[in-house]
Symmetry: C2
Subunit: 110 residues, 2 copies
DNA sequence: ATTGTTCTGTAGACAATCTAGGGGGACAAC
DNA sequence: GTTGTCCCCCTAGATTGTCTACAGAACAAT
């Protein structure tokens, strides 16, 4: 929290990406737009964070990609959740609830 | 969220420490115990995270220290919030609310 | 004396994110 | 047919916060 220009809580990006793909398969650029919109412009996913994260997730077998063509007729890499990815999303969601609840306890926010 | 042994949300430790000291001045070791208790054993502050964090906060002028003697009659360094620290705590709290709310929006948790 | 507990500290590794770039292809305007 | 603009992908390097794994001093209990 020390830096006011930080637009993400470290450690939550993977979860946010998985959640986005749980709604529907998408290309990388679309994911960042989606996250920004759904968070009402609060969460900004920089490209330098996004693509390494996608690489990471695919490497761990949680998402799968194939090349296609976007809505705007541009070459784009589409991602979708794997079974393992869906399970991982559940784990990350639980952990997020656990930790954010604990922080709110300490901060005195019921 | 990828690591299940992570017992803190990265970026929130400073805020948790400031909050602890907002209740009453304490020594470092006591702060970690307090955070663990208040979070119902969920948040674990390792010593290798705690002391660097305290050093960081003091360096930024948000807390101030002096040596004293603990409840158990041991030498201990007591910390208290400065005026700047109290202000910073407010900022971090706001930012935490902003970001965690945004994440919950994306995750579909009203 | 020895062992356990409390309390402070440091070095080095590690992982996630950011900054700051680069590049190619589609489409519109002119 | 050239120019500009947006869409989309990608990478290197730096920064930062946290973790692991130590070390050590001082008091308590036996």
């Amino acid at each position: 929290m020390s830096k006011d220009r930080l637009e993400l809580l470290q450690g939550t990006l993977d979860m946010l990406i998985l959640k986005s793909l749980d709604l529907e398969p998408m290309h990388g650029f679309g994911i960042s737009v989606r996250i920004r919109q759904m968070s009402q412009e609060v969460l900004q996913v920089e490209q330098g964070s996004l693509y390494p994260a996608l690489y990471r997730l695919e490497n761990r077998g949680w998402i799968r990609s194939k090349w296609g063509v976007s809505e705007n007729n541009r070459k784009a890499k589409f991602y979708e959740l794997t079974a393992a990815g869906r399970k991982q999303l559940g784990l990350e969601r639980e952990n997020w609830e656990r930790l954010s609840t604990a922080i709110n306890l300490v901060m005195g926010m019921a």
